[in-house]
């Protein structure tokens, strides 16, 4: 089934491929399968891949490939996705200390959604999220789907810097900031886990497709884990 796939040149050396314009788990699975196939059978001339919610950006070397040639190859790969098994998902737990200095926006989110802070924490930690993709900065996982009751718009003016490990929510997504970066997501907690470490074998704690749960922890537990 390739008729719902759209191709769009993004630059003279990159091609965007859209599986429609709706974020669904089905589309997510197709993107993961396509990534897997491109890993198993690499295409000479492809330099980099950037998966996202319903798209895949493919960077290529224009000295070896053209938009048209790459599109033909990708269409043939997409035609084989149905024969591919879904890659295994790992289960990951994110110990998180909610509220206080670690989650400066927790009270505001609660007020915006007509809940108590404790209810926000309970709801946030009650579901299993899927890592739709990693992007923005190394190790930043876009997790969905946030329970409807927690959906909250971004901050009007983003923070200049967000402490590493901060757990934020934006729209119907949640995520964890691996680095001190500017950020417009509302911060409700913080994890002591290092989400990205260049000196670790698995640099990124999370990978595309992982199934993730947040586990509320105390400030004392946070300090103990942070110093572990």
């Amino acid at each position: 089934m390739t008729e719902d796939v759209q191709f769009q040149p993004a630059s003279d050396q990159s091609l965007l491929l859209y599986f429609g314009q709706h974020v669904t788990l089905d589309v997510h699975l197709r993107i993961r399968k396509l990534l897997r196939l491109l890993e198993l059978e690499p295409v000479p001339g492809i330099r980099n891949l950037h998966p996202a919610y319903c798209s895949l950006l493919v960077d290529f070397d224009a000295l070896n490939l053209s938009h048209a040639a790459l599109e033909a190859i990708l269409r043939s790969y997409i035609g084989r996705l149905d024969t591919l098994a879904v890659p295994n998902s790992r289960e990951r737990e994110i110990p998180t200390c909610y509220g206080g200095e670690f989650g400066p926006d927790l009270n505001e989110v609660a007020a915006l959604r007509g809940m108590t802070p404790a209810q926000v924490v309970e709801l946030h930690a009650s579901v299993t999220y899927v890592v739709y993709f990693l992007g923005f900065v190394p190790g930043f996982a876009y997790l969905g789907e946030l329970p409807e009751g927690l959906a909250t718009p971004r901050l009007m003016s983003p923070r200049r810097s967000t402490p590493p490990g901060s757990v934020g929510i934006a729209g119907n997504q949640t995520g964890i900031y691996p680095f001190a970066t500017p950020g417009g997501w509302r911060l409700i907690g913080r994890t002591p886990l290092a989400m990205f470490r260049p000196d670790r074998k698995n640099m990124s704690f999370l990978s595309i497709g992982d199934r993730v749960r947040f586990a509320p922890i105390s400030v004392a537990r946070f300090s103990a884990l942070e110093n572990a």
Partner: protein
């Protein structure tokens, strides 16, 4: 072991090679030299492979002591270099005697000057590259810009010194353009005709907040006509994205790998090295070309670089 002692790092000096490819799925951007053409040429002048690691200096160069001497070349912008107080020519390899000091000052032309040394700068590779990504602490010398007192190792090499110079036609061809050629961005239809007109007819000033992640432009805003948020997607090198305020940002080598703002245009690959030489307050303009023209320009550029007479001995 031959080394370089950093007596003064300058404003912002990092170890860079041609970057790391293939780590998009974990959110890692390529990094690498902001003006890769200058790094490649500099490496050829000292007899290295084009992808060897060198030092990228920004706006204000540093002071470097070579206790055991070295074979060195400077490329990119003219930072008024001197070797023990004698002027050094840009784009020509030269020998540094033991205990000599190479001193660079403020730029006299573009934003970046490259110091290439025979054997390359030797640092541990991170994800296959020596390139520094400052925000992530990846690669380079401890994942950070150089500081006073740092001691950099020079890779071993035994090829004899030959005085090499960049051919005049190459220097001419790769001199920095202020009119950047672009192809249409994936969300070009989010912008009205008047917005597109002012984007291509007006000029923009490079903002002070610009860095290796992105160049913020000041000028006529080009607000997207469609309201509502875009679904986050991958962004390519040189993408010109337009946030809600309408002031474009050119995403550059240390860029975010995905983003949710519409892209009006994308700088062509053949002009990306010019972006690396833009300074804050530079005036630039955009000129649209077709994808086919962009590809032809890149192929022509690579053929020119590969030709035997691009470097003179």
């Amino acid at each position: 072991m031959n080394v370089i002692q950093v007596e003064d790092p300058g404003l912002l000096t990092t170890v860079q090679d041609l970057g790391r490819e293939g780590f998009g799925p974990i959110g890692v951007s390529p990094s690498g030299a902001a003006d890769p053409i200058s790094l490649r040429l500099g490496n050829r002048l000292v007899g290295n492979v084009e992808s060897a690691a060198g030092l990228e200096m920004t706006l204000l160069g540093g002071t470097f002591l070579f206790p055991q001497g070295a074979i060195v070349a400077l490329t990119g912008s003219d930072f008024g270099a001197t070797l023990d107080c004698a002027a050094v020519v840009l784009g020509t390899s030269f020998e540094v005697a033991p205990r000599q000091t190479l001193r660079l000052g403020p730029t006299r032309s573009g934003a970046r000057c490259y110091l290439c040394v025979r054997g390359g700068i030797s640092v541990p590779r991170s994800l296959g590259s020596a390139s520094t990504h400052i925000l992530n602490g990846l690669g380079g010398f401890g994942g950070r810009p150089l500081r006073e007192g740092d001691v950099l190792r020079i890779g071993s090499a035994t090829n004899p010194f030959r005085k090499r110079t960049i051919a005049p036609q190459i220097s001419e061809r790769f001199s920095s353009r202020k009119v950047l050629r672009v192809t249409p961005g994936p969300q070009v239809d989010w912008f009205s005709q008047p917005s597109l007109h002012s984007f291509y007819e007006g000029s923009y000033r490079v903002g002070e907040q610009s860095n290796r992640m992105g160049l913020r432009l000041e000028g006529t805003p080009v607000a997207p006509r469609r309201a509502g948020e875009m679904i986050t997607e991958g962004v390519s090198l040189g993408a010109v994205q337009v946030p809600a305020g309408g002031l474009p940002i050119i995403l550059f080598v240390d860029q975010q790998t995905t983003g949710g703002y519409p892209k009006i245009a994308n700088v062509i690959s053949a002009d990306l090295h010019c972006v690396g030489q833009l300074r804050p307050r530079d005036e630039i303009r955009f000129e649209q070309v077709t994808f086919e023209a962009a590809r032809s320009l890149l192929i022509e550029q690579e053929q020119l670089l590969a030709s035997e007479d691009s470097i003179l001995e």
